[in-house]
Subunit: 261 residues, 2 copies
């Protein structure tokens, strides 16, 4: 099977023009088939402030009212997505920018919750890989904004980590998929205060050991659980590490590699 | 050759939710291969006002400074484009939203002008039909926002009429192309005050006659000249008419059909 990299890039890189530019250069240089999934960074929050649209955050999750959905659609699927595509083209990487409505790629439903109304937040139901596979086979790189749709005409705001994971899982039938979560940390750290204490490899046994010793910080647990869920669903490996070390992450010489064996 | 419709939709329809919805229903019902090209409507202007970004218009053309480019990229390629795609999906039309950077589809350069600096306005150099043809052959409908790129990483604001015309011309080698300019008027009118005075067919001879009698209003002349240029470049026919009559326009039973014979 051909190799495919599904790479999630964190918001802090999006916010930093120079870091983004060097990341995209490294990304463009990956010879295998690849998908980039981006979040939003601070741009959407800043635009909401400028437009006096109050942003509600409950338990770390943004409540997406109609005006906020409009903003994230503009910023994520418009400004950020198209600028990334233009920069990749400048780096001789033929890319196409998509959201989940394009080619009916990512079907979601408005989140149902007994108490909370998260607004126009979408939970993913299904990945339709027809378009993605067709484009990847033509050596076109995909750039996904974290916006999905419900097939009834409604766009929905969806977590970018989830989109990366679902795409990786959905495409693992057809490709040997490596899922990369790139962010501002060097990887999963043994000592949170020491960026050099990166754990290079974690398997389920070691993960249980680390958790029982409370070595995994709370914020990392959902990422790790997602990583193992992706591996269970057919993804070959998951790598977590610093976006500024992308080439090394892809080679497996930096960051934390999570495997199922 | 298979038929292809390239349909430009005017800003006044974009601004009217009900009209847009009924237009998209009629558009989705077209069985042949199709491309929709949309402009921006008043949304971008309104957003610029809300953000206190002054809009300069010289000789009917918006000057696109860096902040305005950001706004049109957000509004055209993000909000409008993705909402149109989501609505088409709801009408069982598998669509994909693109700008000229996607798949390197539309290459442009920043407009050069001896006196004026139009800012980030792009004049089209070339259409790359590889991606479009690939998608059209899979029966995927394309929705183009009027944003192009220069292959150096710069997005550019480009006239939507021009994009429709260039796509129609570029694809006329491979398809029997009908280019439709749909707007708020019923077509080319013999009497500007009478919406029923639509001229059903115009050929070059009749056009010269109408112009010599000053029957063509000034605003329509560039549209007509563009139409004849498209026909000269291989487009099969050009139809100008009311967006609310799309099915009839496509059947040739409403609007003005411009032909080269």
């Amino acid at each position: 099977m051909a190799k495919l990299y599904v790479i999630k890039i964190g918001g802090n890189i999006i916010d930093d023009e120079k870091k983004l530019s060097s990341f995209l250069k490294a990304f463009a240089a990956i010879h295998d088939k690849k998908i980039l999934v981006h979040g939003g960074g601070k741009l959407a929050t800043r635009l909401a402030e400028q437009l006096n649209i109050p942003q509600q955050v409950v338990e770390g999750r943004r409540i997406t009212d109609a005006e906020t959905l409009k903003i994230v659609t503009m910023v994520y699927a418009g400004y950020i997505n198209k600028n990334i595509v233009a920069q990749l083209q400048a780096n001789n990487c033929n890319a196409i920018g998509l959201c989940g409505a394009d080619g009916d790629s990512i079907l979601a439903h408005k989140r149902k919750h007994a108490v909370m109304d998260y607004g126009f937040v979408g939970d993913v139901d299904a990945i339709n890989t027809d378009l993605a596979t067709n484009l990847l086979e033509k050596n076109i790189t995909l750039v996904f904004a974290p916006i999905t749709h419900d097939q009834q005409g409604q766009l929905l705001n969806t977590n970018a980590d989830t989109i990366a994971q679902e795409l990786a899982k959905g495409l693992s039938d057809q490709y040997e998929v490596t899922l990369v979560y790139s962010f501002e940390k060097s990887g999963v750290l043994l000592d949170i205060n020491n960026e050099k204490s990166v754990i290079s490899k974690i398997d389920p046994l070691y993960y249980r050991e680390l958790r029982s010793k409370e070595k995994i910080i709370a914020g990392m647990i959902p990422k790790m659980d997602n990583a193992f869920a992706a591996l269970d669903a057919g993804v070959n490996k998951v790598i977590i590490g610093n976006a500024q070390e992308l080439s090394k992450l892809v080679q497996g010489t930096a960051g934390t590699t999570i495997v199922n064996e």
